[in-house]
Subunit: 458 residues, 3 copies
């Protein structure tokens, strides 16, 4: 089952070692504790211990961390013969990405006198950036080697940081939960990469491109952790106090409404009314994506529920009708359906954010305006112009994602990364030592067959 081209014996160790050694050197040269993690700096001032940002953000960080490693990792284990690759490559590229993201994001907006200062907020941001890479991973799942994935991650993290810098620092957009920076970017980048890597003969692996009973249960572990902790995700880096509180609550109600519309649509679009696990595992999460931008605003639970409700409907319809079209007409082979979970809901979230921003008034936000829209609060701009900023940010993100994905897709096509052949996509045994199990049953069956044949022949 292995030939020399997909043998990772040298390619993977060399890639990992070179990347990690570069990371370590750059951390040695550039990275420092910030004033809340540095023993000397923290003790210079007279703080209360609970002023340390650790106590405001670390619980949210841990929830986000679970989403990245267990949430994304297990969500993708639905494939019957790619569980190791789903959770294992997710683990590998996430561990690489969060280190690289610390550097790239720090370079763009964490420099202090030539050094990158880090603490819990930068850790959350690094995990966020990693999330974007894992979204793209969902599009190419099962069709790429670990070396391809590491190379993709390296480029995508870099582009993510540039795009994020333009949106948040240059354009002054707000996007705490990342409808644009994380979801829209990750989705369209990934879709473009998988378009460039189009495999006309992927149907040779079609029999493995689906779930079995237990693999769908493993995937539900991923789904539920993403669903439960999404309120922490969207609120992790919003301002302290009412902002974190409000964002978490808006997300909670958006997801609840989304779940009901997902079940309704899944049943409605099946010819015999049966629920489809693909929809439940994915579309029920779209409500979290769609309030990623507006969640910190005064969207109200009422508004959040409407957004979540729509996101669930759009997402199921996408899985049912749009994904087959994308594959047939546009040659986009999207393994996990990221367009339906992150792409369209991300764009919806950006639009909702732009509209919500443009109608912000001091009557509603009071003195809290400064935390949500500082430039509106200071009188520098009108709220309607903040809406324009948000809309421009969506366009910029789409541009970056599509052009970036195009370029990176062609880089990944270079025949040096050990990509699997069409006949062995969605198959763990190409990159992993796989123990018995399914095979063992086959062997037993073969044994029975052989025995009986021998009896017949004798």
């Amino acid at each position: 089952m292995t030939d020399s081209s997909t043998n990772m014996r040298l390619k993977l160790p060399i890639t990992c070692f070179i990347m990690e050694i570069i990371l370590i050197i750059l951390f040695g040269v550039l990275v420092q504790y910030d004033h809340e993690t540095d023993a000397k700096a923290w003790h210079k001032k007279n703080h209360s211990d609970y002023d340390n940002d650790f106590y405001y953000r670390y619980p949210s960080f841990q929830d986000v961390h679970v989403m990245i490693f267990v949430g994304f990792g297990f969500l993708m284990t639905f494939l019957q013969r790619y569980g190791f690759g789903s959770v294992g490559f997710n683990f590998l590229i996430a561990a690489m990405s969060l280190q690289w993201a610390t550097l790239m994001q720090g370079f763009f907006h964490g420099m202090h006198e030539g050094k990158i200062h880090i603490g819990v907020e930068s850790m959350i941001n690094a995990d966020f950036c990693t999330g974007s890479v894992l979204i793209s991973f969902g599009a190419v799942l099962g069709k790429t080697s670990p070396v391809q994935l590491l190379v993709m991650a390296m480029f995508e993290v870099t582009l993510f940081a540039v795009n994020e810098f333009i949106l948040l620092s240059l354009l002054g957009a707000k996007d705490a939960g990342g409808s644009m920076t994380i979801h829209t970017f990750g989705a369209y980048f990934g879709l473009m990469v998988t378009r460039v890597l189009y495999r006309p003969n992927l149907n040779k692996s079609k029999h493995r491109n689906g779930s079995v009973y237990h693999s769908d249960l493993f995937a539900m572990i991923g789904t539920l952790y993403l669903w439960m902790f999404w309120p922490s995700f969207n609120s992790a880096i919003t301002a302290h106090g009412d902002d974190q509180h409000r964002t978490a609550m808006n997300t909670y109600y958006s997801l609840a409404a989304c779940t009901l519309s997902t079940y309704a649509m899944s049943s409605l679009t099946a010819h015999d009314g049966k629920l489809d696990m693909v929809h439940i595992q994915n579309a029920a999460l779209a409500g979290g994506v769609a309030v990623g931008t507006a969640g910190e605003m005064m969207l109200t639970p009422f508004g959040s529920m409407i957004v979540g409700f729509l996101a669930g409907i759009i997402s199921v319809l996408g899985f049912k009708y749009l994904s087959p079209l994308l594959e047939e007409k546009l040659k986009i082979q999207d393994t996990c359906g990221i367009h339906n979970l992150h792409g369209m809901p991300g764009v919806l979230g950006a639009v909702v954010g732009a509209v919500t921003a443009s109608v912000a008034t001091t009557g509603v936000y009071g003195n809290g305006m400064i935390d949500v829209f500082p430039d509106v609060a200071s009188g520098d701009i009108e709220a309607s112009y903040q809406g324009v900023r948000q809309a421009i940010s969506l366009a910029v993100t789409l541009g970056f994602a599509l052009v970036g994905g195009l370029i990176v897709g062609f880089i990944l096509k270079l025949p040096i990364f050990g990509t699997p052949p069409d006949t062995l996509c969605f198959e763990d045994s190409i990159y992993w030592e796989v123990p018995g199990d399914e095979q063992s049953h086959e062997n037993q069956l073969t044994a029975v067959r052989t025995e009986e044949s021998e009896k017949l022949n004798s």
Copy 2:
């Protein structure tokens, strides 16, 4: 495998859409941010950020949230062919219930000038109420359609809110961890519903009403998350400071003691001393239920351990001897054995709470009395009378649960909800698209058989 009566194509979407649209409209009319989630209200006063209740309760909320969706959801996946239904219907009815609970509980004790004010504490309470519905779900698991479950949830949430209001607001009882409001209510309500829905021919589905090796491991995920986070559950809405701290610790030791008595009793009651996964998965949790009322009181770790120890013993004995009797004599078919995990331990918890309350003294509680028993602290009542209040609350809860369950059971019997036939209980494929797996092995076996037969015949 599908006939028209169980086809959910119209029933489920219509139910979900109507419910969600009503919820959204009611949220639009009635619900507002409270003063800790509203930008304007929060910034009116001069707070420190950490005064926001978010930082006191959000970590506990997230633990409770995990218990509701992963804990209850996976605990029920022990059934070999009902994993999708267990975790999937749990997801659906929980998402509906928490929205409806926000309104019902808000209506009874969160109204401010005609509006329901919400924040992290109401989110926890909504999750609590949802937990009660999921307990009842355990009794009817595998024998009900998703539409039946949604209807049951709607009524149960409403009755829960009324009962809770009577207990906490009218009677002045204390029940932070919900031994009465959540566990006793949910259990006896569910038992009455399943009694009304009695199926004399359920043995036609008996071969599916059990576990397989891997499904028991999935169920252990649910068990452990419930076990680990129960200290957060019981302490989530107790008073800040020593109260939350003490409640979490009491629960921790109660559960530890309960686990040892569960293992002991499981081994002791098996004729060959082998441990039974049903006991481990369920009875080891009874210690959390049984300190739901008294956990916030000065029960001491010593007292908590005694309570947990007894709860484990009672629960295993219930599974072993009482459940078969209930089914045979009283025609109560209790799929998950909720009477043993929530029913009896809930009653035990109520009694322990009443006794502990009645012996409270200022010598023990000091100025902390005001947080635990405000009416005793203010001198309005004697501690012994607080005990009486607690005892009356148990009786009221049992009455509400049994009468409510009776009525709702008859409603669910209406032949319009697509309930499964006796032959297809505990079977996912009636409501779900189910991928291959077990079948595939059967197919392989059939193939071998056919092949061999052909050889014989030729």
Copy 3:
């Protein structure tokens, strides 16, 4: 499959009941709420609610709690026929150990006027001590009865508490994340126990001493929870403020670097470059172990990454080359390879801690020195002498572990604990009621065989 010697019908209940009753009595006599969990004591002083240690440490406690029950429990489910034993015995001995540890640790460093005072910090310490027992459990997994495990746990907890007391209180060593007290101690204790319990004929159970496809996915749940929450583990009991913050961050980067070197080495050491799940599940965690001592120091992310990077390499090499040697030459049968995950990385962590301590300067730590090295800050000792203390502590720990393991191993050899025979190691059905599944397939195969034979004979 059961004979009288392994029948647990009396042995297990008696052991559990006696242990739990003794625990309850000792708690009744010795244990009291501390001033943060006691209603009267807390309300005597005029605190802010958020001064209660609960808010500083409870989120970390819950993360540690998940590591102990889900992390360790599922990490060991990789064995194909020992999932119940892995997660179930883990549950049992952890529940016992945390109660016993509360008493033992309290006896050595929590006594106040003859009483043991407990709160969230003692709960974390009890979970830590339990972790050490679970490490040792990994070495003897599948080869011991639950009674043997309970007896081992009782002795190991006691020795752990003595060793911890000597290190932290007498020698003045620092070891917040327990590279020495938890990992080195647990590993070498367990290795010595398994050495004494050496089974020359263990190969009779060899066919069960490995994983199947799904059991490796269950194990990844354990791995990922350990990996994600390790930052909470190492920082759970460090000083408030910058110390907790810094420790969590150092651990985060150490683990990320470790993951990349693990993947690299796993691929490099396989003859066809395929990744080995055993390495991914275990070696990727070594980075957390290796910064257990130095994580709270000013190790810098750069230093942490170097340590993690080395730990991953050492750990994979250990699995690949050292474990087979240990089994062959030294007769150490280490089921889970704890020497590679906890043993060597623990020693590495102790050495890194000693070196980092010995180079501490006021220039780097400022006034924060008092939190990390109080005796250096007070001028009582030089930093270099703190390094010597750390090194002596490692030697003491190794001595305690090896001698303790030797004695306890011989105790466990007494032929009264119902240890499994060589032919039934790594097999759940000896101590558990096991439902169908694998057997059912075998039965089906047998049925086919029989049917065909009958046809042939007729």
